[in-house]
C-alpha cells in the first residue's frame, strides 16, 4: 500500500530524516518507535505531504505521491491524525465531523456523520459543544471518528496516546484495533512502546533519521541490543518481564 524508500527530509536546512524506508501492507498496523528527535513525526509529515522529501521515493499503491499536497494525498484514501488530534477546538463537535466529510457529497456526509453518532453516542449528545471542551481522550476519539467519515484505507497517526490517562489510552487503542479488524491499515508513531507493541504487526525503530530495526514486536522484544538502546530496558528488566 504505502512504501517509503530511502527518504530524506527535514525543516529548512536541517536534515532530520537521513534515509528512512518502510512498507505498510494492506490492512496492517505498522508501528514506528525511537528516541526523541529520531525523525518519527518528520517521517509521517513527509509521507502525508506536509514536508516535501529531499530525496527518495514515496509511493501509494505503486504510484509516486512525493511532492503532492496533503489534501491531494487525503483524497487518495489516506487519513492523518496529528499529535494533538488536529481538532478545530473552537468549533463544535458536529462542525468538526462535517469538516471531516468536506470531500464527499452532502448525502454521503450526512450518512457518515449519523454513523459516527451511532458508533459514539457521546458525540451525538455533545454535538453542539466546542470540541475543545471535550476531555483529552474524547478529543482523540473524535479525531479518529472524524478521519473515518471519508472511509480512508490508511491512517497515519502521530502519537495517539500522547498526554492521555491510561484508561483513555486503552480505549483509543481498542478503537484502533477494532478499525483495523475492519480492514483499515495504520502507520502509528508512538512513544508509548508497550501500547504499540501490543497491537502492531510490524515495528520500525528509527534512530537519527535512519532505520535501526525492522521486525515483528516479538523479534524486537527478543533483541537485547534494541531493547537496551531504544526501550530503556536492561537484561534484568527483560528477565523480570518474562517471569510469570
Amino acid at each position: 500500500m504505502l512504501e517509503l524508500e530511502a527518504v530524506r527530509s527535514g525543516y529548512g536546512k536541517l536534515e532530520i530524516l537521513q534515509s528512512a524506508s518502510l512498507r505498510v501492507p494492506d490492512g496492517a498496523i505498522i508501528g514506528i518507535i525511537g528516541p526523541n528527535g529520531a525523525g518519527k513525526s518528520t517521517l509521517l509529515k513527509t509521507a502525508f505531504g506536509y514536508l516535501t522529501p529531499w530525496a527518495g521515493r514515496i509511493a501509494l499503491d505503486g504510484r509516486e505521491i512525493a511532492g503532492r499536497r496533503p489534501d491531494e494525498i487525503m483524497r487518495c484514501g489516506v487519513g492523518y491524525l496529528a499529535q494533538a488530534g488536529g481538532l478545530f477546538a473552537e468549533m463544535t463537535v458536529h462542525d468538526n465531523l462535517v469538516l471531516g466529510g468536506y470531500t464527499v457529497s452532502r448525502g454521503d456526509k450526512r450518512r457518515a456523520v449519523d454513523s459516527v453518532y451511532a458508533r459514539f453516542p457521546l458525540f451525538h449528545d455533545r454535538r453542539r459543544q466546542l470540541a475543545g471542551a471535550l476531555s483529552g481522550g474524547e478529543q482523540r476519539l473524535l479525531a479518529i471518528a472524524r478521519a473515518l467519515i471519508v472511509h480512508p484505507r490508511l491512517l497515519l497517526l502521530d502519537e495517539p496516546s500522547a498526554a492521555l490517562a491510561p484508561r483513555f489510552i486503552d480505549e483509543v487503542y481498542a478503537t484502533l484495533v477494532a478499525l483495523n479488524q475492519d480492514g483499515l491499515a495504520m502507520l502509528i508513531v508512538e512513544q508509548n512502546v508497550e501500547a504499540i507493541l501490543a497491537v502492531a504487526h510490524r515495528v520500525f525503530v528509527l534512530d537519527l533519521g535512519r532505520n535501526a530495526f525492522d521486525g515483528t514486536p516479538a523479534e524486537l522484544r527478543g533483541s537485547d541490543r534494541i531493547r537496551r538502546l531504544y526501550l530503556g530496558e536492561d537484561d534484568e528488566d527483560a528477565a523480570a518481564g518474562s517471569r510469570p
Binding site: 525543516y11 529548512g12 502525508f48 505531504g49 506536509y50 499536497r69 496533503p70 489534501d71 487525503m74 483524497r75 487519513g79 492523518y80 491524525l81 496529528a82 488536529g86 481538532l87 478545530f88 477546538a89 473552537e90 468549533m91 462542525d95 462535517v98 469538516l99 471531516g100 468536506y102 470531500t103 478521519a147 471519508v150
Partner: protein, 294 residues
C-alpha cells in the same frame, strides 16, 4: 439636544455600515491568510470607479453599478493570491515571512492607485445616487442613499456570517483560519481557500466603494484613509476576528459621530487612532481576541 443626539447617532450607524464592510473583509483576510492587506482601500476605490463606469459612462442602472463593482473586485481579488502571495510564499519556503507580505500589499496598493490615476486621471468623479429621496424621521432626516449603505452592509455582512457558519466552503474558511495543517488533512485545498477569502474580503470593500461613491467623490486615493482607519478598527475588534471588527466598526463610528457634540470636529478622526493606541498598550489582542472560528 435630543435631536442632535439622534442625528449624530444615525450618522454614526451609516458610517458604521461602511466601516464594517471595509474592516470585516480586512479582518477576515488577516485571520485566514495572516496577511495585512494594505491595498484594501484601493479595492474600495476600484469599486467606486466601476460604479462610475457603469452608471455614468455606460448609463446602466445604479444597482448594476454596485453588482459590477462586486463582481469586478471579486475577480480582481481572486488573482491576488495566485499571482502575488503564492509565488512569494513559494520563494520563501519554510522561512519566516517577516514584513514581506506587508511590503508586497503596499506595492499592490501603489500599483493600483497609479493604475487608476493613469486610466481615470486624478479628477474627482461624481456618481449619481442609486436611490434618491429623504426619509424624514421627525427629529432628523436621512437620505435614502445612506439608508441603502446601512441596509446593504447589514444584508451583505449577514450573508457573509451565514456563509461562514453554515456553508461547507465557509466552514473550510474558518477551519483554515484555525489550523491550516488540520484543514489540509480534511482535504481542503489551501490555495483555493486563500484565493476565495481574499476575493470575498476585497469584494466587500468594492461594494462599499460603489455604495459610497454617490456620497463622496471618487478619486484614486479615496480608499487609503479608510485602510488606515480600518487598521484601528480591526485592532480594536481583535486582529483576524471579523465579528469583532463588525462590533468595533460601530463602536468607532458612533463614538466619532457623537464626539462632535463635545469636541471640535477636526479632532473627530483622531478618536479611532487614540483608541487603537490605548488598545495596543492595554489589550493588544483587542476587545474580542482572534476568533474567525466562532
Amino acid at each position: 439636544m435630543l435631536e442632535s443626539l439622534l442625528e449624530f447617532l444615525i450618522q454614526g450607524l451609516v458610517l458604521g455600515g461602511l466601516y464594517a464592510l471595509f474592516a470585516v473583509g480586512l479582518s477576515l483576510i488577516f485571520g485566514v491568510l495572516d496577511v495585512i492587506n494594505v491595498a484594501h482601500g484601493e479595492f474600495f476605490a476600484v469599486g467606486g470607479y466601476l460604479a462610475f463606469a457603469a452608471v455614468v459612462l455606460l448609463h446602466l442602472p445604479g444597482a448594476l453599478g454596485v453588482l459590477g463593482a462586486a463582481v469586478g473586485t471579486f475577480l480582481l481579488g481572486l488573482c491576488v493570491y495566485p499571482l502575488l502571495i503564492a509565488p512569494l510564499k513559494r520563494r520563501l519556503g519554510g522561512r519566516p515571512q517577516g514584513p514581506l507580505y506587508l511590503v508586497l500589499t503596499l506595492g499592490l496598493s501603489t500599483f493600483l492607485q497609479s493604475s487608476l490615476l493613469a486610466i481615470a486621471g486624478g479628477d474627482y468623479r461624481q456618481v449619481p445616487p442609486q436611490v434618491s429621496g429623504i426619509l424624514d424621521l421627525g427629529v432628523t432626516a436621512v437620505s435614502h442613499q445612506r439608508l441603502l449603505v446601512l441596509g446593504a452592509a447589514a444584508g451583505l455582512l449577514s450573508a457573509l456570517f451565514a456563509f461562514l457558519r453554515f456553508h461547507p466552503e465557509g466552514l473550510a474558511v474558518r477551519a483554515v483560519a484555525l489550523n491550516p495543517d488540520a484543514a489540509q488533512a480534511m482535504g481542503i485545498n489551501l490555495p483555493r481557500i486563500f484565493a476565495l477569502t481574499l476575493a470575498l474580503g476585497v469584494a466587500l470593500a468594492g461594494v462599499g466603494g460603489a455604495l459610497m461613491a454617490p456620497l463622496f467623490n471618487v478619486y484614486p486615493a479615496v480608499g487609503f484613509p479608510l485602510t488606515i482607519k480600518a487598521f484601528a478598527i480591526t485592532i480594536l475588534g481583535g486582529m483576524g476576528n471579523p465579528a469583532g471588527a463588525l462590533v468595533a466598526s460601530f463602536l468607532v463610528s458612533i463614538a466619532e459621530s457623537l464626539s462632535v457634540m463635545v469636541i471640535p470636529s477636526q479632532w473627530q478622526n483622531l478618536i479611532a487612532f487614540a483608541v487603537m493606541i490605548v488598545m495596543l498598550l492595554v489589550r493588544p489582542r483587542g476587545l474580542f481576541g482572534r476568533a474567525v472560528s466562532r
